[in-house]
Amino acid sequence: MNLVDRYLKAVAKALPEAQREDIVRELSEDIRSEMEDKAGELGRPLTESEQQALLKRRGNPLVLAGRYRQDYRTLAFGRQLIGPVLFPFYVRVLSFNLGLTFAVIAIIFIALGVSGQKVGVNDVLSSCLLQLFIQLGAVTLIFSLIERHLTKNPDRWDLSGTCGGLRLDLKIGKNSSLPIERGQWISRFESVSIIIASTVALIWVTGVQRYPFLILGPAASFLKLAPIWYQVYFPIVLLTVAEIVRATINLVRPDWTRFRAVYNIVSHSGGLVVVYYLIRSGSWVAAVGPATEITEQYAHSIAIVNQWTYFALLVAAILSVVMLVVKVTRLVRSLRRGAGSPSVTAPAKEGD
């Protein structure tokens, strides 16, 4: 695919579907006419860099496509956060994320209802509102940062990207002068996957606190979670939210590999503290109802569940310690390697 085709493909992706083909045909004709004119003036075919300069002069494909839209909706709180060019993408991403999140919430609550658990309207509403708040905040933050970048740096784009042929150079600020190998960047696919997975995990953790059935299954009729789980609930939620925030930051700044490396050490340390408190408690499930009514069979089942939980926590603790040592070692190595240079890059596999 040549440069013109890549440019047109990038424009086409952002055009209204009904007019897409027609607009691209006309733009294509205009670009080729201009190139022929230039080639005629020079008496030779245009080189690739001359073609690139000509396309660059036409402007960012996203902005160009935005001019064909009749939809001028924007998002503003005092000042404009997301302009008409990005607004349709913003709505699309937000709808997708919220749709997925609400589908997960619906499945969880339907499962609870079917299993005979009592589900209140307040529970559903509070879960939906919490997720709405998180998704709205994260997606708005990302898009307002991209909008700011597009406004300040209208020329920082090229056609080397894989996303519709367009790559926005999102290296902002001081680091822009320090080239980082793109192979070392954190993949945006990975960041998006983590945001979605952590959001689902957050919904599940929130649900488990109220409906132990989600983790205990049918055993919830005679088992309940021990008080220690309610004590570590907020630290677990905090770690999950922090992971969403971290992935959101890395989505905008995939070159912040060292930030992720430091964050991973902090989050693994936090996770280790949670696991330590859990192990120390010694009991993780208890019987429903007064102790006098527990039959020998139930008592035996509770002992088995506690025993297996203990082994599982022990394995989790060992794995966390190993991971922490590996991550600290990698960070120290990367700091030593980078001591002689101002690069902010961490090793390629850092934090994986």
Binding site: I23, E26, E29, D30, S33, R67
Partner: protein, 118 residues
């Protein structure tokens, strides 16, 4: 302090001028396009004609404008082959001719009023 004041105000004045200039040009460009399309042309030759007449317009502004004028019924367009390539030719519609005549009258009236004031 004075330099900072000058720089801040210098920049905002420049931005203000740019915004006002764009506003002034926006209406004139519609008139220029309609006038140039009394004769049938396709996009690229229209752009070249306007440029030669001192009304340069970038393609990102021209093509959306042509589409808008067509959807308002002022222009007609058709795809036709010329020099072995398919091109979209535009020309004024009957409504477009009428509106152009009225706009030119308005333009001349504004121009003579302004000339009297300046």
């Amino acid at each position: 302090m004075c330099i900072v004041h000058y720089m801040v105000h210098g920049t905002s004045n420049h931005e203000l001028f740019e915004n006002l200039r764009l506003e002034l040009r926006r209406g004139s460009l519609v008139l220029a396009c309609l006038a140039a399309l009394r004769q049938e042309r396709y996009g690229y030759t229209l752009r070249k004609t306007l440029e030669e007449q001192g009304m340069a317009i970038d393609e990102g502004t021209l093509y959306p404008l042509l589409r808008r004028l067509e959807s308002q019924g002022l222009l007609l367009s058709e795809w036709r082959e010329e020099e072995k390539r398919n091109k979209r030719f535009y020309r004024l519609s009957a409504d477009g001719k009428l509106i152009l005549k009225q706009l030119l009258g308005e333009w001349q009236s504004i121009s003579s009023s302004l000339n009297g004031m300046l």
